[in-house]
Subunit: 136 residues, 2 copies
């Protein structure tokens, strides 16, 4: 399988988990627990370009991720979205939202510049997510 | 099954199709071919609150809808999102985007006031979508 992660996604995120068919990334932005799932298939920009089997696999993974984010970070709302207007490679945002977060109740995209984390904080956040993600 | 559509969704949209377990709505906004799918279950605000069977049913319906929007309206990109920060009742936006639409490349939510359509234009748009939706 040839697959290359879009350079913009690579620059904005850190890798949390790699599976045979997808990547779980975390945005390096302290403001939100913001994760991104990317199916490892080249040249795909829309959900309907995936096989039904992979659609279901990717969807259920994102839903499980949303549940884990809500539990890990106490998020009051989960935002799930495949947009791709800026980076067309198919990727699904799964973001934990709080009523006191900077963009609430607006969507997070384009709201404000990311606030990067130091490595220790990145690792802590990724570990917190992983702990809940592996349990449900 | 008791189910009541949130009054804000009812006010902003027209009904395009009703199935046993979901509603297909169309935003009354000339600027975008913008559809919304609502599972007919009361009190659900997150994907992970649905049974896996209904998750898959709803997801595949949205993907099929996205494909139909792309074909019906020549959309260059499909945006699919469950946000719910303003209206918590679970609803999935499936929106056709063009590089010359008013919000491009930003998301459509909160970008500009909707431009309502007359009944004839609403009916034409809904019919165009339905024609492609029933074929794929």
């Amino acid at each position: 399988m040839t697959f290359m992660l879009h350079p913009q996604l690579a620059a904005d995120t850190v890798l949390v988990n790699e599976e045979e068919d997808l990547l779980l990334l975390m945005m390096n932005d302290r403001q939100y627990p913001w994760f991104i799932v990317v199916p490892k298939q080249d040249g795909i920009t829309e959900w309907h370009e995936l096989s039904e089997e992979i659609q279901i696999r990717l969807h259920l993974y994102c839903v499980r991720l949303g549940k884990a984010i809500a539990r890990s970070f106490g998020s009051q709302k989960i935002n799930t979205a495949a947009l791709g207007n800026m980076v067309s490679q198919l990727h699904v945002h799964v973001i934990g939202r709080q009523q006191d977060d900077p963009a609430w109740p607006k969507p997070v995209w384009g709201h404000s510049q990311p606030i990067p984390m130091e490595e220790k904080e990145l690792n802590t956040r990724a570990s917190t997510l992983k702990q809940y993600f592996s349990c449900n």
